[in-house]
Symmetry: C3
Subunit: 187 residues, 3 copies
């Protein structure tokens, strides 16, 4: 990893750390992760015109929605299936080191919140295996915690917390997340 990339990852970490409350930080000091990983992943939603580049698609919508445009009422009821590239830095065009695969759904009418069920799937020399995630993502918050509910291969039986941060978004088509994975159970 070049020094520029290292700086980008540190930047993501710093943003996440600086936005934690003091009380939370205090508690976390006593809970040192047994493994820590920082990645970016990139989501490009299919909008009827970007079939080639899209990495995700709306597959369910409420009665007032459709499948090529996120619905009104804060996208409430839209379900999106995704196969997003995972990269070490924030560049969409960097060589992916794995795929983020699963779904998210928007679940509030008044603001943007989501619920996520997905896996990070790795098959490289660096990492083999998968990490499974689930949890609520109130995506207007700077950082959000979801659960690592299990893992396979190199991440056999993992449990922990993943802190998500929206690193960038463009319109309602592209967004990029930074993920700080902290495992507290390692086998």
């Amino acid at each position: 990893m070049g020094s520029t990339k290292l700086i980008l990852v540190l930047f993501c970490l710093l943003l996440i750390i600086s936005s934690s409350s003091a009380a939370h930080k205090k508690k976390m000091q006593a809970r040192k992760p047994c493994k820590r990983l920082v990645f970016y992943f990139h989501d490009i939603i299919y909008n009827g015109k970007n079939a080639k580049n899209a990495t995700s698609a709306i597959v369910s919508a409420p009665a007032w929605g459709n499948r090529t445009l996120l619905a009104g009422k804060s996208h409430f009821g839209d379900v999106v299936v995704f196969d997003d590239p995972i990269t070490l830095d924030n560049n969409l065009h960097s060589t992916p080191i794995g795929r983020a695969q699963g779904f998210y759904l928007y679940d509030k009418k008044e603001t943007f919140t989501a619920w996520l069920g997905f896996s990070f799937v790795f098959n490289s020399t660096a990492h083999k295996g998968s990490i499974n995630f689930a949890g609520a993502d109130p995506l207007m918050n700077k950082t959000r915690d979801i659960s690592v509910i299990g893992g396979t291969g190199d991440f056999f039986m993992a449990r922990g917390i993943a802190t998500l941060m929206t690193d960038a978004f463009e319109g309602e088509v592209y967004f990029r997340l930074c993920v700080d994975i902290k495992l507290y159970e390692c086998w």
Copy 2:
């Protein structure tokens, strides 16, 4: 919490306890939860006419269904996204202390069973953080157990069992669940 509310919560607990089998109770005595919480949550399904009050919406349906009426064949294949208020007592109009957010799907043609993936999201002085749930809900049974698969904030790394009980329902639009959350791993 006033004495009337206390009685309602106790009533929910009593119903749940009295319907456990003796064998199950015996086993459970040896497994004392490290944390226990009892809540109600309230689901009002969008039916095309109740946009203002609805807290959930059908977003997927089988080929024989639609998105404003639960489908025939025991609603098999309907997927519902929800953002339901959580209350301390069984009154829909009590001040919510959090939100139950996620989805359920009906998964049997011959009778009513569901599969749930959701979170309790809290952001009050009493509780901050989230509890993540997944599991099968054979909802014609008086009580049903699902898994607590993780938690964040005050519920960091939680695992346990949540016992669901249908406390009330009106037609196919409103239903109210009582949830008895028992955590057996607390950090």
Copy 3:
């Protein structure tokens, strides 16, 4: 279980074991499951003509798909809800000992991969309770590992790994999976 059935289960186990890498096997020896279970389950997707026999149905599809035929682009975006019989041997017509209930979704355009969220639900003298699963299923691989994220009843608080193997498929309507469940946390 008759000797023919025993041979079939052993056959499934042998296939799974023989396809593990030597390195993986070595690691696994140090991690002996506290409980191990092998089952088959059977999925028959509704295609508009098999309402009587179907055990599952497409409930969501991308903009380019529909609900009676798995979509193009490797079924990307199709969501299937299922209630599949679980059997001890590979015979669809054997007496089911439980039901596999939940959903899977196809999440890659270039090849067949899925994400699963489901439960095994048992209510017999042999097993009472449920096992909850989640994880990525790259179904072109001979074997795939997903996570056991929790359990109830006889499987109270279970955690572990389930190895899936496609045992047979016919067109895009019927497929049969062999599942080797290894629990590493038993209560």
